[in-house]
């Protein structure tokens, strides 16, 4: 019978591709006394890895996911388990071809060899495909298949050979012991292991395991159907496991992948079938394995016919029979990203879950880096387990969003697309008023935020078409409205009131509060009470962890304000870095924030308060309590839209009242309510303000983003050594702002880029920066005050000069662009006169 060691430095629960890769990478980074457990047998304990389709298509619309996939491919190749086959994503419709053109953009942006091809090209490589069924395809020659079980075994053995790893299979974890908020031991049916660190790599079982420690890993097991049929002579004629390219039939949400003489047909087209982590069969109860569930025939009926339609001669061969058919279980999350990092509930308990084969080894390496020195070498903030707000950790939320997202797995998903399920969870106090004003609500971090207001439609008559930059093409105009640009223009003319309830706000308090924020923030934090500091937050390598503002409210109280989307991750970062004597208090739900900005902002506020709100009386970068009638308001004079004005903070329950008063007072001055379309895009892109998650992430530096300071504070802070070391160096890439000079497509339609598009020289030659990356658009949006569509991108230093002429590729066509700023200099109002109140 199995027995387990009594102690370990790290216990890895799970021996699928993730657990195995992690064991290896930790050992490589010098970890010893690692114990890996699995309740199933080796080499295939019965998780998703065991039945995975095992193919990798590298192109993804996300840069990080693509990088992680490429890294995983590199590792699989090094392990000798990768077989290149090439892959086609075929289109049956013109709409799909458009999407494939978008994928070409991403391929070019990430530097992956790919091309759009016609049906003849496809049939040359896959002769049994009926070319009349398709109109074209996206061809990626580097697509391949891997032997993930073998890869995992080799990695595990390597770690064992180093003496770093003990593996115990057929051992089930029954409990996780937590003492004072920290993991203490792993209890199994073969004994107890005292452990400093525990990593949950349990795939579909992860939520069940995490719950033993009182932590949440919000993923859901979901079904993906697959069958295997054969033998087919055509496939058997060629040697080896796979000699025909893999075909992804995008419009039917299916794929066909060869396995020796068999053809595997898989589907993401069926109704979402979700299972419960607590109700996955054991190895003994399952017929094949716990993640190979009984096949539901009726869900595959249509797919069978569609597959037959695509490959009639092959799949119609009666000699080939269906010998394998399963409802395979895999892990899905609400936002489609993995769940990585130390759980917020339990220190020392880590999650490495919801990771698919194509990201496995790469993600494991990053998690190992993260565990070792706190800094993964690729930004994985989108996958941080701390990103979830409480409502996003609930079972219902996960299941609803996963169901909605499932059929989008091969779907055509617009970058601005909004979810429909589980909406209306977090409502701002002025929500009713916003509804009355015809707010078009978009959701962020669960908050319903007006993106623009239908009540501002009348403004469309006020401004010219050139200023409004209406979008002709349906795709560009989706999830957008020219009203956004109208609101922007009105704001610049008179002013706007903007609901910012979605901010995450937390106070750092206590005798060591100053020490805490000094250590965490780049900027000088030992400032007078009443100062507002805008500051980056870096990691020890000088990469961005966040970008936020801090108000010193008292000698021992600092209020941190950060964007809602990233708020929970920021909160954990601060909490993890507090010295004894400093505490963090989350006041997000205590305060609402309303922005008031524009040429008339001062006039409006003056009509509501007796406080001195002139530029002299209320300097920029300061905050103070003022009375707005009978409301106590914390006013903070900063701006993310480049106008004179304030962020006004009131207790949540007073938000509606303040909102009403501002709107009422603003009406006669032409001050309107404006939405996040203005706040997050048009306002800031004209000012070249960087956004975390778009321009700023862990792989970017102050130097590259043009945010270096002339002088850094004497006090030590995280990342100081790194950025001082970078001081002398030339940046490898430089963040620039560009305008689009001509939008006209070959067919005469004006096109508007949305973000992610690659940039080239005017004649279409590829550009490469010092990191070996190719430039792509990090943010795109209207700059109505300039009458231009603007883009932001990191360019190679040689191109990072005002006036450089380049081109952006959109849907496979080139459009001329010009650099208008090669640093943080704002294209609009570069001297910041408006903010100053001049």
């Amino acid at each position: 019978m199995a027995s387990v060691p009594e102690k370990a430095r790290c216990v890895i629960i799970g021996a699928g591709i993730v657990g195995n890769s992690l064991a290896y990478h930790l050992a490589e980074l010098g970890w010893t006394d690692i114990v890996q457990l699995d309740k199933g047998p080796l080499p295939n304990p019965g998780g998703s890895t065991g039945h995975a389709s095992n193919f990798i298509f590298p192109v993804d619309h996300s840069r990080e996911m693509t990088d992680i996939t490429l890294e995983s491919m590199r590792q699989y190749k090094e392990l000798g388990v990768f077989t290149e086959s090439g892959g086609f994503e075929v289109a049956r419709t013109e709409e799909r071809m458009e999407e494939l053109r978008r994928r070409m953009s991403s391929a070019k942006a990430w530097g992956i060899e790919a091309e759009l091809v016609d049906p003849d090209f496809v049939v040359e490589k896959v002769p049994f495909l009926d070319k009349d069924v398709i109109v074209g395809a996206f061809w990626t020659p580097s697509v391949g298949v891997v032997d993930s079980l073998r890869a995992g075994t080799i990695m595990r053995e390597r770690a064992q050979e180093k003496g770093a790893l003990t593996v115990v299979s057929n051992v089930e974890v029954t409990d996780l012991e937590v003492v004072d908020g920290r993991i203490a031991a792993v209890v199994t049916d073969a004994g107890r292991i005292e452990a400093e660190t525990v990593v949950v790599c349990c795939g579909v079982w992860s939520p069940k395991i995490a719950r033993m420690a009182g932590a949440r890993i919000p993923l859901t097991p979901a079904v993906h159907q697959m069958i295997s049929a054969g033998p087919y002579e055509v496939l058997a004629d060629r040697p080896g496991e796979i000699s025909f390219p893999i075909v992804r039939d995008m419009d039917t949400l299916c794929y066909e992948r060869q396995h020796g003489s068999d053809m595997e047909v898989g589907s993401y087209a069926h109704r979402p079938i979700l299972h419960d982590p607590e109700e996955i069969p054991s190895n003994e109860q399952a017929k094949l394995s716990p993640t190979e569930m009984p096949f539901t025939e009726e869900d595959f009926e249509l797919q069978l016919e569609q597959a037959l339609e695509l490959m009639p001669e092959l799949l119609g061969d009666e000699r080939g029979t269906v010998r394998y058919a399963i409802n395979g279980l895999l892990s899905q999350t609400a936002d489609g990203f993995p769940i990585l990092g130390e759980t917020p509930e339990v220190k020392g308990l880590w999650s490495a879950a919801a990771i698919w084969i194509k990201e496995g080894p790469g993600t494991a390496k990053l998690v190992a880096e993260w565990m070792t020195h706190g800094n993964p070498s690729i930004d994985i903030s989108h996958s941080d387990i701390c990103r979830f707000y409480p409502h996003q950790r609930t079972r219902d939320h996960v299941r609803a969003r996963t169901s909605e997202a499932f059929n989008k797995t091969y779907g055509i998903v617009h970058p601005g697309e909004q979810s429909e399920s589980v909406r209306g969870v977090r409502l701002a106090p002025m929500h009713a008023s916003q509804r009355d004003l015809g707010a078009v609500f978009y959701e962020a971090a669960g908050w319903e935020r007006p993106h623009w207001y239908a009540s501002n439609e009348n403004l469309l008559e006020k401004f010219s078409d050139d200023q409004l930059m209406r979008r002709e093409h349906e795709w560009d105009a989706r999830w957008w409205s020219p009203i956004i640009n109208a609101e922007h223009l009105q704001m610049r003319e008179a002013g706007a009131v903007i609901d910012l309830s979605a901010f995450a706000i937390f106070d750092i308090v206590g005798p060591k509060a100053l020490e805490a924020v000094q250590q965490i923030c780049v900027a000088q934090m030992d400032v007078k009470v009443g100062r507002v500091v805008y500051t980056p937050v870096l990691d020890s390598r000088g990469g961005f962890r966040s970008d936020l503002t801090v108000m010193r409210l008292a000698h021992d109280q600092f209020r941190v304000v950060t964007g809602g989307a990233h708020g929970m991750v920021d909160k954990k970062w601060f909490a993890d870095h507090l010295p004894q004597g400093a505490a963090l208090v989350d006041v997000t739900s205590a305060y609402t924030t309303i922005g008031l900005w524009g040429p008339k902002a001062r006039t409006v506020l003056e009509s509501l308060t007796r406080a001195d709100v002139s530029p002299q009386g209320f300097p920029f970068g300061t905050c103070r309590e003022i009375e707005v009638g009978d409301l106590g308001v914390l006013a903070s004079r900063i701006s993310y839209v480049g106008e004179y004005g304030w962020e006004l903070y009131v207790p949540m329950e007073a938000g509606a009242a303040l909102w009403e008063r501002l709107l009422k007072a603003g009406k006669e001055h032409g001050v309107i309510p404006a939405g996040i379309g203005v706040y997050a895009t048009t306002g800031r892109i004209e000012k070249a303000y960087r956004a975390f998650g778009a321009e700023l992430d862990a792989e970017r530096t102050l130097s590259e983003t043009g945010m270096r300071r002339k002088k850094y504070k004497d006090a030590d802070f995280i990342g100081k050594d790194a950025i001082l070391a970078q001081e002398g160096e030339e940046p490898k890439a430089v963040l620039c702002s560009l305008t689009v000079d001509d939008h006209t497509s070959a067919s005469g339609v004006k096109r508007y880029m949305l973000g992610g598009e690659p940039l080239f020289t005017r004649d279409g030659t590829q550009l490469t920066d010092g990191h070996g990356h190719h430039p792509y658009v990090t943010s795109a949006g209207s700059a109505p005050s300039l009458g231009k569509h603007m883009l932001m991108a990191f360019l190679p230093p040689e191109q990072a000069r005002v006036g450089t002429e380049l081109a952006v590729s959109f849907m496979e066509e080139l459009y001329p662009v010009t650099v208008v700023s090669a640093d943080a200099t704002a294209p609009f109002d570069p001297d910041n006169d408006r903010i100053k109140g001049k």
Partner: protein
């Protein structure tokens, strides 16, 4: 030309650990899935082969709820031409009830000109293991019946059946019409092709009502006996363990 009726039953796949429903009244197929028994898969295969050889056709029949259509489709996808479902809750029917219903279908169809000269069943249902339906059916139809058949061929109105048991092989020659219950092992059931599965969806499927209310199976309760706790003693590794193993055998009175 021999038309064959093959009778199948939807049962939970029992190749894994047996799980009971929360109320303990039946076996839960949630995790392992549902299937027809291995004996019945062979019966379908034998039926299809006989039909192919004699120019006849196979009708597959089940007594069960809507979910059991899945098992009918499985048989249709490997060569059965049409299907019949007696709409009933199989758990409420004992072997005598099932036999009566099958007999009713055979008789009704015979009246309409469709004669099933050969009726095949599984030797026993994988879940209830009654060993009775085929025999009771034979008496209801007044036909001869052979059980435990592993191979069967029809030639000129006579069925030659082979039964293998630990003692040896027994051969029967029975004049049709007849009933046979099939024990797996003599033929290899074929898997469906993709076109077979697609055709199965479009094949004729008739649903009929039961002819009478069931008397029931007599089942009162179900339990899964707990596995005995054992403590394995590892005698050693590889051929080097042979002496120790022989010692144990001798102690047990086996090695002489």
């Amino acid at each position: 030309m021999t038309d064959v009726l093959v009778c199948v039953k939807r049962v939970p796949d029992a190749s894994g650990e047996v799980v009971l429903t929360p109320d303990g009244s039946r076996v839960d197929g949630r995790y392992a899935g549902y299937t027809m028994s291995a004996h019945e898969e062979c019966a379908v295969e034998i039926g299809v082969k006989v039909a192919e050889a004699t120019g006849g056709a196979v009708t597959v029949l089940t007594l069960g709820d809507e979910d059991s259509v899945e098992q009918l489709r499985a048989a249709l996808s490997v060569g059965a031409a049409e299907a019949v479902r007696v709409d009933a809750d199989a758990d409420a029917y004992g072997p005598a009830d099932v036999a009566r219903e099958i007999a009713a279908v055979v008789t009704t169809r015979a009246g309409a000109g469709k004669d099933y000269d050969l009726v095949l069943l599984g030797n026993d249902a994988a879940d209830t293991g009654d060993f009775q339906v085929g025999i009771r059916l034979a008496y209801a139809l007044d036909r001869p019946v052979v059980t435990g058949v592993q191979r069967l061929e029809v030639s000129e109105g006579t069925a030659t059946m082979q039964v293998d048991n630990p003692e040896g092989t027994e051969i029967y020659e029975v004049a049709l019409p007849a009933v046979a219950t099939v024990l797996e092992g003599g033929v290899s059931p074929r898997y469906p092709s993709i076109t077979g599965k697609i055709k199965a969806k479009k094949a004729p499927l008739e649903t009929v009502e039961p002819s009478a209310a069931p008397a029931g199976s007599g089942r009162q309760a179900l339990r899964v006996p707990p596995p005995p706790p054992t403590q394995v003693e590892i005698l050693g590794e590889g051929p080097a363990a042979a002496p120790r193993l022989v010692e144990v055998l001798t102690q047990l009175g086996a090695g002489r």
